[in-house]
């Protein structure tokens, strides 16, 4: 067993897509609760309880979204109270809580995703979709720091040569325009040399292959299969499991059947998967250390 983030980026992307898309397209409080617990636990276990600020921000955002709905939507049959001639209904409050929870949960998942998927992992995933795009992105990312560095150098050189006459905005703008024009010339020059360097190494000669430092190991296949099975059962439940929940005019559950219950179980397992893997990995290390 290895840490969750060490799995192949494609498996990770598939996982995050499954877990968030199901949540986004299915407004179901139980799914939401499961997903929220899974996302929060994983963030907590990964950060070792740090990032208090993050949780505070998300909580404030949650409150904001939750309050907005009952203020503007007056549907629903159970009136809680009236403020300044505005009806606040129970259904609108619950709907607000659920949709705000949904947003926050997706944000939590996304937070983990951006922390785990570093730039080269994303490029690797793009590369699987389109190798050409991946190369272009890689070259682009190469140029960004190169250009930023050169811009800085040109600016400093211009300054130290006394080309900025005075400390005013107009002069600064003129100077920046000058910098931009030189940068353009220099970029063209760079482009010529880079393209020579590419041709000298056989670019454009024939069919390219695509190398990456990530590989599919057997455990990656296992995890992918696991995710697929859980996703299929979850979707099955969404399709024929009668798991619907109605907010307006009054809140009511549909008559859930066995597929519905199965889908809750499998989605719960899916959402808890990163936490489980992470915990398993930690336990294993603890065990190994105690043996050493």
């Amino acid at each position: 067993m290895k840490s969750f983030e060490a799995y192949n980026p494609i498996v990770l992307t598939a996982y995050f897509l499954s877990v968030t898309l199901v949540l986004m397209f299915c407004q179901n409080p139980i799914f939401l609760l499961l997903s929220f617990l899974g996302a929060l636990l994983y963030v907590l276990i990964r950060n070792q309880g740090e990032n208090g600020k993050l949780h505070l921000h998300y909580f404030l955002l949650f409150l904001l979204f939750a309050i907005l709905n009952p203020l503007f939507s007056h549907n629903g049959k159970t009136v809680l109270f009236v403020i300044n001639d505005t009806l606040i209904t129970l259904e609108a409050v619950v709907y607000g809580l659920v949709s705000a929870g949904c947003v926050i949960t997706v944000l939590y998942w996304f937070y983990s995703f951006t922390k785990i998927m570093t730039r080269d992992k994303l490029l690797y995933v793009f590369g699987k979709l389109s190798p050409k795009l991946s190369l272009v992105l890689s070259m682009g990312l190469r140029y960004v720091p190169l250009f930023a560095d050169k811009t800085m150098r040109i600016k400093n050189a211009q300054k130290a040569l006394g080309l900025y006459k005075e400390d005013n905005i107009l002069d600064k703008c003129r100077g920046d325009l000058r910098v931009f024009s030189i940068l353009l010339t220099w970029a063209l020059e760079t482009g010529i040399i880079t393209s020579d360097s590419m041709r000298a190494r056989g670019y454009g000669k024939g069919k390219r292959t695509h190398f990456s430092i990530y590989k599919f190991h057997s455990c990656d296949y296992t995890l992918l299969l696991l995710v697929a099975v859980m996703l299929v059962f979850t979707l099955l439940g969404i399709g024929i499991g009668n798991i619907g929940f109605v907010f307006y005019p009054g809140m009511a559950w549909e008559d859930v059947n066995i597929f519905g219950i199965l889908s809750y179980i499998f989605y719960g397992a899916l959402a808890g998967l990163p936490t489980l893997i992470e915990t398993g990995d930690r336990m294993k290390w603890k065990y190994l250390i105690s043996k050493i």
Partner: protein, 541 residues
């Protein structure tokens, strides 16, 4: 076995009347380490590019180039590797591992064998430690090593390098050259290299080719070529110090190439009774031009100090050279003096006035000018003429000639011409204090001599010059005083003769060659005059 056979090669660029290559014929044995030298514009780069048909220049070509008996245009790309001058611009991708794999990807090699070959090369070149890094975070030396490794991974039979070390500092350059020699010895790969830095290359090369005006002048072993070289050849400045001494004194017999050989040669041929060279005492002016007082600087809060209690006083009208390794704070101190970086503690005074008191850019008006290391960043226009038109100074007032370059684009000039153009722009601003960062980077020996002359002319006009350089030979020749920086502090200051003869490692080849033989000799001219003063040994046979 001949790897290359070139017969009667002529080449003319489109819209040019004069050919760039005239009747060049030579052949190279498999496994040779060949150095190709010649002045700027002698056709070296054109010749080498014609050997790599993917990037060969367009134009009219006559003659044959055979690679193992086969015409060069049919040779597979991976057989011939090409490394260019600029370390940055050759890098294509953002990650070190991706850059290494790039050539193999283009060849359509399978994922598994790419992984194997990249791993092999990365460990051979010691790249494993920075295998995962972004290419933009590497140093110049590492970048150039990566470029070499990215070509080597394709398993070439012929490796062509066009001034690969001209943008590197001397330590990185030495390492690069020794890596090349190692490749040559370990794999038997044939190497052709163009370089200005011949001091280290000539002793290790098998063959030396000399070009002039598009024709091949010399072709043979290094010792043989050096002894045949005529005194009016432009290359005479760039040959190793020992060989220079040998030529100056009209030596006969085997030509010495390294410091070790030079030392033996002096001891064998000249008496060494009188040891000390008399040096006129240097007196600096008592007015200070640039003064650092207890200056501290760091780039960010969490980073270590780059300048640590820096104390340095540079006097009016002197040429002052700052030497030191990478990261010792040389360039940072210049940027602080020019007001680009702000120290967090300490004081900098320029002509006695605090730096902060120069308000509203007045520091840069007829007072201070900084020539950056990356010289292309100061050019603004499309021709040399336009660059100079904005200034209110006559062409004839410059202590050098630029008139033959007026129509050219500044980017098309050679490194030396770019430096002179940059200097012209600076002189036009009439500074009293000129700060220069690595002015000899990428210059051939002839242009360095020119630079030396120009700087002395500027000094005569009353300008104070501070130079940051890695080039100890240049510093020894040009400086009134030198300082050695180490970890953000000045560890020693002195006039060149004392400064360099005290140092063991950070010194000129001439000083190393004569250590213990003569005192105070740091340039080859001084060694020669000591030899003459002592006279030749009498030989009783």
């Amino acid at each position: 076995m001949e790897i290359l056979n070139i017969k009667n090669l002529n080449f003319t660029y489109p819209k040019c009347t004069a050919p760039s290559l005239r009747d060049v014929s030579f052949s190279i044995e498999d496994g040779d380490f060949t150095v190709l030298c010649g002045a700027t514009g002698s056709g070296k780069t054109t010749l080498l590019r014609l050997l790599k048909h993917e990037i060969a220049p367009h134009g009219e070509k006559n003659g044959t180039i055979l690679f193992f008996g086969e015409d060069i245009s049919g040779v597979a790309c991976e057989k011939v590797g090409f490394v260019m001058q600029n370390p940055d611009m050759q890098i294509v991708t953002d990650k070190v591992w991706h850059e290494l794999a790039f050539g193999l990807e283009n060849m359509g090699v399978s994922q598994n064998s790419i992984a194997k070959r990249v791993a092999e090369m990365a460990s051979y070149f010691g790249i494993e430690h920075w295998y995962d890094r972004d290419t933009s975070t590497l140093s110049g030396g590492q970048k150039q090593l990566l470029n070499l490794a990215a070509v080597m991974v394709m398993d070439p039979m012929l490796l062509i390098l066009d001034e690969p070390t001209s943008q590197l500092d001397p330590i990185a350059a030495s390492y690069f050259i020794s890596t090349l020699k190692k490749i040559n010895l370990d794999f038997g790969i044939t190497i052709i290299i163009i370089e200005h830095r011949l001091e280290e290359l000539i002793p290790i090369c098998d063959r030396l080719l000399v070009m002039e005006n598009g024709s091949l002048l010399q072709n043979g072993g290094p010792k043989e070529v050096l002894s045949k070289m005529t005194a009016d050849s432009g290359l005479i400045h760039s040959i190793p110090t020992a060989a220079k001494l040998y030529r100056m004194l009209g030596g006969t017999g085997d030509c010495p190439l390294t410091a070790r050989e030079g030392r033996r040669w002096i001891k064998r041929n000249y008496s060494t009774e009188c040891k000390g060279l008399k040096i006129p005492v240097y007196k600096h002016s008592d007015k200070s031009a640039l003064e650092f007082k207890n200056v501290y600087f760091r780039y960010a809060k969490h980073l270590p100090d780059v300048l640590k209690s820096l104390d340095l006083n540079i006097f009016e009208n002197e040429i002052f050279c700052i030497l030191g390794g990478n990261g010792s704070g040389k360039t940072t101190s210049l940027s602080c003096a020019a007001g680009i970086l702000k120290p967090y503690s300490g004081q900098i005074r320029i002509f006695g006035t605090k730096l902060q008191e120069y308000k509203n850019q007045s520091l840069y008006r007829n007072c201070i000018s900084l020539l950056p290391q990356d010289i292309t960043s100061i050019f603004l226009c499309h021709t040399v003429f336009e660059e100079l038109a904005g200034t209110d100074i006559e062409m004839s007032d410059f202590p050098f000639d630029l008139s033959y370059l007026l129509d050219k684009h500044p980017y098309d000039l050679s490194g030396g011409e770019q430096q002179l153009l940059a200097l012209a722009k600076v002189i036009a601003a009439k500074p009293k204090l000129l700060l220069m960062d690595e002015p000899t980077k990428g210059l051939d020996a002839e242009k360095k001599t020119e630079m030396l002359r120009v700087l002395h002319a500027l000094k005569k006009n009353g300008i104070t010059i501070v130079i940051v350089t890695h080039d100890v030979e240049f510093a020894a020749a040009v400086a009134d005083r030198c300082a050695l920086f180490f970890r953000g502090e000045v560890v020693s200051v002195g006039v060149p003769n004392e400064f360099f003869s005290e140092n063991c490692f950070y010194t000129t080849t001439a000083a190393r060659m004569t250590k213990g033989v003569f005192h105070n000799t740091v340039t080859v001219e001084q060694v020669a005059s000591m030899c003459l003063q002592n006279g030749k040994k009498e030989r009783y046979l």
